[in-house]
Amino acid sequence: MEALESRDGNRLCIAVNGRLDSVSADGFADRLTLCLDGKPEAMIIDCAGLEYMSSAGLRSLLMAAKRCRAESIRLALHSLRPNVLEIFEMSGLLKIFPIFSDKAAVASSFGE
């Protein structure tokens, strides 16, 4: 798993690639925590390169979502592959996450 960060003003974009499973989830959660410590106004996670996710990976995203909520940081996930979207569906957590089809859909949700 690799996570590439980029900034767009005070928005943080993170592109996740590879497998988010019980091997990589803790490292990813730590990474998200560090990112959120920087108090961005929004965290946008690009999942186009995310090949696989288990409940461990989902848990790291859930913890980040809770923190975003508590600290009024906007969160958006976009460009999920069908198999990853299916995992969100199976978990019953699909409606908990702000998921968008692509980057443009995120921008328009931000009123742009």
Binding site: R19, S54, L62, M63, K66, M90, S91, G92
Partner: protein, 148 residues
């Protein structure tokens, strides 16, 4: 789908799950198992292996898990056998899908997801071993329209 079988002896290390996933996906491809079915079986097995590796041996140490994956006419079966602490995953409560982020609990998702991904889970404890058998039917459509 051709009949195919994979047996593996995994160490109680999380990295071993990736070794299983690679081998299973290769077998599914060779046997002509549709991708969506194969990935559900891999997910369920990942979840149960993660549980076993993280919780079956509270005192740690090196342990082995025996895995058998069988693809047969109409069914995919995964069997996991470990000599860890007795644990029946079927007795673990399945979390209700939360309505809001605040309702959402951080733990307990893995077993729920394995149940969602597969058609049946069976557990037995015998000879001081946990024995879990997960089954996925591959002909749901035929069953649904009565032509099976």
């Amino acid at each position: 789908m051709a009949r195919a079988e994979l047996t593996m002896r995994l160490h109680n290390r999380l990295q071993e799950i990736r070794r299983f996933a690679e081998a299973a996906l290769a077998l599914f491809e060779t046997a002509g198992v549709p991708k969506s079915l194969g990935s559900r079986c891999v997910l369920a097995t990942d979840e149960m292996l993660t549980n076993i590796i993280n919780y079956a041996w509270p005192t740690g140490g090196e342990h082995l898990i025996d895995l058998r994956l069988v693809i047969e006419e109409g069914v995919i079966r995964v069997e996991l056998i470990d000599d860890g602490h007795p644990f029946n995953p079927l007795e673990a409560a399945s979390p209700m899908p939360p309505e809001t982020l605040d309702d959402c609990k951080i733990g307990g998702l893995g077993i729920h997801m394995a149940r969602q991904a597969m058609d049946s889970l069976r557990y037995a404890r015998s000879d001081d071993h946990n024995r879990l058998v997960m089954t996925k039917f591959t002909k749901e459509r035929n069953l649904a329209d009565g032509s099976a």
